[in-house]
């Protein structure tokens, strides 16, 4: 069991409340996944800037002078906003890849949660309510976001094993289920040049989509390919810079409910995750069909 929530806003007037709405949805899903939680928030970008969200088990040591040290290593300005065990590093968009590489040198123990122009990922071990409070998620604005509450089955309860997984710029994926062919798919993707941080099955699904999109597939086509190439149980919810997608395996054991109004598209593992959304009583509420790709793009 795991819990998934997602929100893709169509109405910009709701953007200041995105974090608060996702927080409420995520906490409602605590009993589906009390061991760890994570959330990806996409916010409107500042032109020319990119963000690297990083995590440390020893933030007091690792984050001290991180902005200056990383800036020196890449020869550009870096600003750091510290949020508990995470830091959001802002830098010139064309320095993002250099910063990823330099970080491994200047702070080898720091882990990268996400990178891109819009995405920030926060994830930790613990009750979902405690996790989102540590990062002040409820005060965050954004255009779309995805959250996950984890009940681990396939790998250890660790920060890096929590969802969302991000394997490409501004991309993320969360998963309810378990994959049975992730080792063989991981081998294929490694040969194709993809890099992995964990032994987790979900990271393979994220990397699979990233690889497909790197090859030129759009979000919908990449998600369609999961139905033929990934074996196991899954409900995936996927975020990209401007998109939001949902797909369930053909057996569709893992629950999923969606709601759509003029203001938003929402996803919940259960309907009760969505009961506080504005206008939910008038929303079109449906269960996504098995083996069917749904996606929305701004």
């Amino acid at each position: 069991m795991c819990g998934i929530v997602g929100l893709f806003l169509k109405d910009p007037s709701l953007e200041p409340q995105l974090g608060a709405m996702l927080t409420d949805m995520l906490i409602t899903m605590t009993d589906r996944g009390p061991d760890s939680a994570g959330i990806a928030i996409y916010s409107r970008p500042n032109p020319g800037e990119a963000k690297l969200t990083v995590q440390s088990a020893n933030p007091a040591i690792d984050f001290a002078n991180l902005d200056a040290d990383l800036g020196r290593a890449i020869g550009a300005d870096v600003t750091a906003v510290l949020k508990n065990t995470h830091a959001v590093l802002t830098l010139a968009a064309d320095k993002l890849d250099a910063a990823r590489a330099a970080l491994a040198e200047v702070r080898p123990d720091v882990r990268i949660m996400s990178g891109g122009e819009e995405i920030e990922i926060y994830k930790e071990v613990g009750l979902p309510g405690d996790v989102v409070r540590r990062f002040g998620i409820d005060a965050m604005a954004g255009t779309h976001g995805i959250g996950h509450t984890r009940m681990a089955t396939e790998s250890a309860v660790t920060t890096m094993g929590a969802h969302p997984f991000s394997t490409g710029a501004d991309q993320c994926l969360v998963h309810n289920g378990s994959l049975s062919n992730h080792n063989s798919v991981r081998r294929v993707l490694k040969r194709a040049g993809m890099r992995f941080e964990t032994e987790n099955d979900t990271e393979v699904a994220a990397a699979f989509l990233t690889h497909k999109m790197n090859e030129g597939a759009n979000l919908g086509a990449a998600m369609e390919a999961t139905l033929t190439d990934l074996d196991g149980f899954f409900t995936f919810v996927v975020g990209t810079r401007n998109g939001f997608g949902v797909v369930r395996d053909p057996i569709a054991c893992k629950p999923a409910v969606m709601a759509e109004t003029d203001q938003y598209v929402a996803f919940g593992s259960e309907y009760r995750a969505m009961v506080n959304l504005p206008g939910i009583d008038q929303a079109r509420v449906w269960e996504p069909e098995p083996a069917t790709v749904y996606f929305w793009e701004h």
């Binding site: 053909p250 057996i251 569709a252 054991c253 629950p255 409910v257 259960e270 309907y271 009760r272 995750a273 969505m274 009961v275 509420v285 449906w286 269960e287 069909e289 098995p290």
Partner: protein
């Protein structure tokens, strides 16, 4: 009318109050407000009451129901009316997966669509779905009747025993050992009664349905298959 605010009073208090109604009671009319997708609403009721739930429900609403008439004024989550013994459950909206699973008796009416595994392992319940049903419905269904006014998904009636399946629309595929069967006068009469009780007699006529049942080829082990094991 007993009105119960689920948000204010809590699920355990509701189910405890309903379980306290033994046999005949004069508290026969109940409504539950602020359902908000909660799980296990009105599970294990065993009294001839009429209970209306306002709003959508989560997992297992009306599970193990005996005698009661339970109406859901919204959509219903997974396992609705699971293992119902008697009584009636009516869902105004859609029902999620395995609605009416393992039901022994009574009537389940779903006015919207039911998703996968509707009536899985049903053992005597009657289920009337006004819309469509998803894949693997009536898997290993043993007895009772499943009536579908819309379409059925993949693998309908896989490994079916003696349940009768009536589908008005298309069937995406039949499961192992499930075949179409002749519609005889007694089936038309049965269907007319089910449509009436399922509040669907104004929506469809018995003649518009096809009947599916077990070919009974899986009942006994076929010795010719021994080498496969």
């Amino acid at each position: 009318m007993q009105t119960f605010d689920l948000e204010a009073q809590g699920l355990r208090a509701l189910n405890a109050a309903l379980h306290a109604l033994k046999g005949s009671t004069n508290q026969t009319a109940w409504e539950v407000v602020n359902a908000r997708g909660s799980h296990a609403i009105a599970v294990g009721v065993d009294a001839p009451i009429d209970l209306t739930v306002h709003g959508s429900t989560g997992y297992y609403c009306a599970g193990m129901n005996k005698q009661a008439t339970i109406r859901i004024k919204g959509s219903a989550g997974p396992g609705t009316a699971e293992n119902m013994m008697s009584g009636t459950v009516i869902v105004d909206g859609d029902a999620s997966q395995y609605a009416g699973a393992t039901g022994n008796g009574g009537l389940l009416v779903i006015k919207g669509n039911a998703s996968s595994r509707c009536g899985i392992s049903m053992k005597g319940i009657d289920i009337v779905v006004h819309g469509n049903i998803g894949h693997m419905s009536a898997f290993m269904a043993q007895s009772g009747n499943l009536v579908v006014l819309g379409d059925a998904g993949d693998a309908l009636g896989d490994s079916l025993y003696e349940a009768r399946l009536f589908v008005r629309g298309s069937v995406k595929s039949l499961g192992a050992d499930c075949i179409e069967k002749e519609m005889r006068p007694e089936h038309l009469a049965l269907l007319a009664d089910l449509l009436k009780r399922g509040e669907a007699d104004h929506l469809a006529k018995p003649e518009e349905f096809r009947r599916y049942g077990s070919a009974r080829k899986l009942y006994n082990f076929n010795i010719d298959n021994a080498s496969s094991y």
